[in-house]
């Protein structure tokens, strides 16, 4: 038996995984640490948000939905702070941002 909630959850999960793929592609292909942070932090956390939303839609309980929201907020906080800390420290250590060679 497949309800509308199940289908919506599955669609959201598929969309989330696509964002994860995009993030990993960026991690592999982008030229330096700053661009990789840029790719990974945004894409992955959007992907996780979509998966959380999908799980919340399927769970059908408000408490579980709130817990999943908390999971997403915590990961967002950690990722945003972590990205900023890594980038700032890398900059201070003298890793220069990538620039196209003339």
């Amino acid at each position: 038996m497949m309800g509308a909630a199940d289908i919506a959850g599955a669609v959201l999960a598929v969309a989330g995984v696509l964002f994860f793929l995009a993030g990993t592609l960026g991690l592999l292909r982008f030229p330096d640490i700053y661009t990789r942070i840029h790719a990974l932090t945004k894409a992955d956390n959007l992907g996780l948000g979509l998966i959380c939303l999908g799980a919340a839609v399927q769970s059908g309980s408000l408490m579980t939905a709130l817990k999943l929201l908390l999971v997403w907020i915590l990961v967002l906080l950690a990722a945003a702070t972590g990205a900023s800390l890594i980038a700032q420290t890398a900059h201070r250590r003298g890793i220069r941002p990538w620039a196209r060679q003339e």
Partner: protein, 312 residues
């Protein structure tokens, strides 16, 4: 499903191999952390939520922080050196040692496989479910840890305490008072997050009686909160009066456990044999004190020595 399990197992083996064989310590630490993350997924797949919770807290967070901090304390040349140097790798001694461990590992694996064949198929799960109502809790794992096999848990807590005693006997820790923080973002972030850590820690502790959770994951989350505060610029210098309380906090888990056991013995029940009507309350009391102690002990082990006494 089988394909997924196969990939998971393969990745785990690759990560273990890398954390042992990679040529620099930093790479080894990162591989080991990644191994901890995937190990938690493996526990989820094995339907062992209690262990998955503990692995999530200890394997990914605490171990990572501990190993990174250790790496930061090593002198430069040492941290940069390959784990096994080239000259050693070519010598006959290296091959003999490696060969010995390989043979031992293969023999142990074969023995393990045979013991798997001999395993009694029904296991003890049925018996546990049958006796669960007597235990005073609804979560079978907590029932085993704190009622049926509580002696093992007493010993585990005693071993942790012993480890702290050994760490403190190494002398006081000089924690750098003023470290330049990488960004003003960090203290604010930690201030925002600490209440969440406390909330999750207490909820895990409370849920232990009827759902996966309990003293060990709860203590680990508590310790993580403390370590995060330290990393965000708090110091380990404490006043002598609090030092007195700290010793009690470290010991209270073991003390309450042993005291409960001995008083039951005096009352004529035997060491840690709970009378049925008291079991639930006793387990809650022991679990709360053990959780607080485990948190303090894990944090003390992270600091790695007696805190500096601030004489003011």
């Amino acid at each position: 499903m089988a394909v997924f399990d196969l990939i998971l197992g393969l990745l785990l083996v690759v990560l273990v191999w890398k954390s042992l064989s990679v040529s620099d310590l930093f790479g080894a630490v990162i591989s080991f952390m990644a191994f901890g993350l995937l190990m938690a997924v493996a526990w989820v797949r094995l339907e062992a939520p209690d262990i998955a919770l503990a692995e999530a807290a200890i394997g990914s967070g605490l171990t990572g922080a501990l190993l990174f901090s250790t790496l930061g304390r090593l002198p430069h040349s040492e941290a940069r050196q390959p784990v096994v140097s080239r000259t050693v790798r070519n010598g006959p001694g290296y091959w003999m040692t490696t060969g010995f461990w390989w043979v031992l590992a293969i023999l142990l694996s074969i023995a393990f496989l045979f013991s798997l064949l001999d395993l009694q198929t029904p296991g003890l799960g049925g018996l546990l479910q049958e006796r669960l109502p007597e235990s005073g809790v609804l979560n079978p794992v907590t029932a085993v840890l704190l009622n049926f096999r509580s002696l093992d848990t007493v010993m585990e807590i005693a071993v942790l305490l012993l480890a702290v005693v050994v760490a403190w006997s190494m002398g006081t820790v000089v924690w750098p008072v003023k470290r330049t923080l990488p960004s003003p973002l960090l203290p604010g972030f930690v201030r925002l997050l600490t209440p969440f850590f406390l909330l999750v820690s207490f909820s895990l502790l409370w849920r232990g009686s009827h759902a996966p959770g309990g003293a060990f994951p709860s203590g680990a989350v508590l310790a993580a909160a403390g370590i995060l505060l330290l990393l965000a610029g708090k110091t380990t210098r404490i006043c002598p009066r609090f030092m007195f309380w700290l010793r009690w906090i470290l010991a209270v888990g073991l003390l309450v456990f042993v005291f409960a056991g001995v008083s039951l013995m005096v009352a004529g029940y035997g060491f840690l044999v709970y009378p049925e009507q008291w079991a639930g309350a006793l387990i809650l009391l022991i679990e709360v004190s053990a959780g607080v102690s485990i948190g303090a002990m894990l944090m003390a082990l992270y600091i790695g020595g007696e805190p500096d006494i601030h004489s003011a």
